[in-house]
C-alpha cells in the first residue's frame, strides 16, 4: 500500500471538504483492498468512523432510517429490519461473508466498486479505473460482466446484493456535502457508465452518504431475494432478483423488481413492474415481465448465458414471492 495521510474528523463540515486525491474510509472492506491492489491511490484518507451515523430509527411515515455507518451485519440482524424488511435482511445475508458483513457499512455498500477483473488489474486497460485508457473487458474473459446498461467504454457489473433489495424497496439516500444536504432515490443513485464509467454514482466531491430511508413496504411474506452464483456461498451474483409483491385477494396489486449481476447498476424497469398491476400470478404474465426486464440486453464474448438464465431466475423469484415462500439463504435449495 502506498503511504497516505489520515484524519478522523468528528463533524460533517470538517469531513465534507472538497479535496482532490482524497477518499472517505468507513468499513474499509473495499477501499483498503483496492489500495492494496494499487487501484485506489489516495494521498489523504478521511476516516468518517466518528461521525454520528450509527443508528437505525423509525420514520414518521412508518418507514425506517438506516445510518450510513451501521454495519451490514447489524442491519440484517436488527429486529425492525427482520420484521418489516425481511427482503433487505435476506439480500444482505446472501452477500459476502460474516466477517466482511461485520465490517462493511450501509453507506459503503452503495459506494463499492465493481469486481471486474480488468478494473482490479492496473496492467489492464480500464476506463473506470483510468479514464480514456480503453476497456480490456470488451472481447476479454467476460462471463461475469454486465449485459444491461453497458456502453462502448465499460461493461463492468455492479456487484452489490444489498443495493438490489434497496432498489426493489424504493429506498432513498440522504447525502451531505460541502453545499449542504440532499436526497436521491436509490434507483437514481448509481449511474450508467456511458462515456464516463469512472463515475459510478451521482456523488459529488466531498459528498458522503449519511443514511438510507426505507419507505413502508406492504409486501408481508410476498418477497424473495434469489441469487444464482458460481459457489453457494461467498460469491458474487451471476444473476440475482429482488422481488416484493403487494398481494390482494390472490391478485398482485402492485409489484417491485430489481436485478443484480446483470446490469452496470441495480436494474429496474418500471414498465415491467407495471405489467403486474392488478393481475393474478401466471406463467404468461411472469414470462412477459421477465422479457420486458431483459429488453435491450447485449452479450459480449462469454456472457450470453446471463441473458438466457435471467428470465428463468426472474420467473422463479416471482413465483416464490407470489406464494409467500422467500428463498432461504441458509438452505440453498431453490424451490
Amino acid at each position: 500500500m502506498r503511504s497516505f495521510s489520515y484524519s478522523r474528523p468528528t463533524t460533517f463540515d470538517e469531513a465534507c471538504r472538497n479535496a482532490e486525491h482524497t477518499r472517505f474510509l468507513a468499513g474499509g472492506t473495499n477501499l483498503i483492498d483496492l489500495m492494496k491492489s494499487d487501484v485506489e491511490r489516495p494521498t489523504h484518507v478521511i476516516d468518517i468512523g466518528s461521525l454520528p451515523m450509527r443508528d437505525i430509527a423509525d420514520r414518521p411515515d412508518g418507514g425506517l432510517r438506516l445510518g450510513a455507518l451501521v454495519t451490514n451485519a447489524d442491519t440484517a440482524a436488527h429486529p425492525l429490519v427482520i420484521d418489516r424488511y425481511p427482503l433487505l435482511a435476506s439480500a444482505i445475508l446472501a452477500g459476502a461473508s460474516p466477517q466482511i458483513r461485520n465490517m462493511a457499512t450501509n453507506g459503503g455498500n452503495l459506494n463499492q466498486r465493481t469486481r471486474c477483473h480488468y478494473f482490479y488489474d492496473p496492467a489492464m486497460a480500464c476506463n473506470k479505473r483510468s479514464p480514456d485508457t480503453g476497456c480490456a473487458a470488451r472481447g476479454g474473459r467476460n462471463r461475469i460482466m454486465a449485459v444491461l446498461g453497458t456502453s462502448d467504454a465499460c461493461i463492468a457489473t455492479f456487484p452489490s446484493d444489498m443495493c438490489i433489495a434497496l432498489a426493489a424497496l424504493n429506498a432513498t439516500v440522504n447525502l451531505h456535502g460541502p453545499d449542504g444536504g440532499r436526497t436521491v432515490g436509490v434507483r437514481d443513485y448509481h449511474r450508467l457508465p456511458g462515456d464516463m464509467p469512472w463515475r459510478d454514482n451521482i456523488l459529488q466531491p466531498g459528498e458522503i452518504v449519511t443514511s438510507i430511508d426505507l419507505p413502508p413496504a406492504p409486501f408481508g411474506p410476498h418477497h424473495t431475494y434469489l441469487k444464482i452464483r458460481d459457489r453457494l456461498s461467498f460469491a458474487f451474483a451471476i444473476v440475482s432478483v429482488a422481488v416484493g409483491l403487494h398481494m390482494e385477494d390472490g391478485r398482485i396489486a402492485c409489484g417491485s423488481i430489481a436485478l443484480g449481476g446483470v446490469g452496470t447498476k441495480p436494474w429496474c424497469v418500471p414498465e415491467a413492474e407495471a405489467l403486474l398491476d392488478g393481475r393474478p400470478p401466471s406463467h404468461s404474465l411472469f414470462r412477459d415481465v421477465a422479457e420486458r426486464l431483459l429488453h435491450g440486453a447485449v452479450a459480449d464474448r462469454d456472457n450470453a448465458a446471463k441473458i438466457r438464465l435471467a428470465p428463468r431466475v426472474i420467473e422463479r423469484a416471482l413465483w416464490q414471492a407470489a406464494a409467500g415462500t422467500p428463498q432461504s439463504q441458509t438452505d440453498k435449495t431453490i424451490r
Binding site: R8, A19, G28, K36, H44, D47, G49, A96, P98, M103
Partner: protein
Amino acid sequence: MTRESVAVPCRLQINGQDYSADLPPSVTLLDLLRERLDLTGTKKGCDHGQCGACTVLVDGKRVKSCLILAVSIPDSVVTTIEGIAQDGRLHPMQQAFIDADAFQCGYCTPGQIMSAIALLEEGHIHSRAEIREFMSGNLCRCGAYNGIINAIEQVVSRQHRNQAGEAA
C-alpha cells in the same frame, strides 16, 4: 494535494493488555499484530479479505484484520488466537479442533477457531447447513471442512449438555 504521511496515535487493548503507539496510518491491524507485537498466531493468507486466515475479534465481533487500518479502531478491544486460552487451559474450541482432527497443515486454523468462537456467540448454530454457511468466510486449502464443522458441533452439543446439567 500532497501531504506527508505522519504517524497517527493508535490506542488498543489487545488480549487484555493496553497498547499505545504512533503508527503510520497504512499499518493494518494484521501487520501490527504480526510485525510489531510478535503475535504471529494470526495468519496472513490472501491479505485481501477473502481467505479468513487473519480473523480476529474486535469488540467481540469477528473481522478480517488485513482490511482494517490499526489507527481506525481507536480504543477497541482486540482478541487474537493467543488470547483465548485461560490459565494454561485451551479454549473449548481449540480442544475440539484437536479432538475432531479439524486441521491438516494448520495455517487457516487460528482464523477458523476465532471465527467459530464468534459464530457460537452469534448463535448461527441451528443446523449443520447454517454452521457451514456462517463459516463461509474461512477457507481451508487442505479441505478439512468436515472436521471443522464436527469440532464446532462438538462444542455446541457440550454447551447444550452443560446447560441441561445446570437446569437439572
